[in-house]
Amino acid sequence: MNFNVKDIEQFQTQKQFIDTAIVPLMQLNLSDEGMKQSSSAVEYLMTLTMFIEQQFRGRVMLMPPFSYTDRTKNELLPMQLQEELHSTGFKSVIFITCDHFWSKKNENLNVLWLPAIPLESMDKTVKQRILEDQLKQIIPVLTEAWV
């Protein structure tokens, strides 16, 4: 499910089935040197989470990305977002990010850190294969959350 009216209407009638929220945590680097790399990571994360949504759309709600810059980065905010999502009825909340910052402090957050892969330089079939490989790594995380 995506966070749009059509899917939300379906979500509200099928709440017992859609119990997982996926939140992409995106770091925006606005400096001259970091901007390009940051956009590449964002592109990768967007494509990957959209692919996950396509595969598991009956159980997963893909939230709009939670983005922050160096100065608006706050480790408490995802925690609060998680609490709110829990009270909306999502049993599990999974954060996906390419930012190392979150990989260290994951006691209370279910954060999945993935290295950013530059998809922009790949042709379509290679891209598809890489996304499928990445998905295979994510499936155990999901099934672990679902048992």
Binding site: Q10, Q14, F17, I18, Q54, Q55, F56, R57, G58, R59, V60, K124, Q128, I139, L142, T143
Partner: protein, 167 residues
Amino acid sequence: MSNNRVTRRQFLTYTITGVGGFMAAGMLMPMVRFAIDPVLQTKAEGNLVLTSQKIADITDVPVKVDFTFEQTDGWYKSDVTEAAWVYHDGNEIVALSPVCKHLGCTVNWEGDPAHANQFFCACHAGRYEKNGKNVKGTPPLGPLDQYEVAEKDGYLMLGKKIANTFS
């Protein structure tokens, strides 16, 4: 003067007929072209999409075939990749849509080791038989959709989604 010499009068007649003919043709051609245009328009192959799957390589074990087509969403054109589970059933090729009839997840062939020879949806443990028929007692309420299939130069072509023909 020999007899086959062209007279001034004849020359003028020929010239005027020729030039007039060209002018008439110039006016009539676009009209005729517009009139018969609907007949000449190609049907875009009935929206069949060519895949990279060779017909000869299809066995009776379902394989996933990805195919890409262009989707227009308002002004925004994007390439959409979809997949189909394709296998041989007797002499027929069957292409099933991998979209679960429950809430739209993607099903996998033998995705659950406990249930061989079935399609499995990881989201809510929905199961389908090989022909796409939903297994009673699992969440899905209907059979998997099918794709129209065709062949071109030995490669598989997939058309639009149709209701499952096995049930």
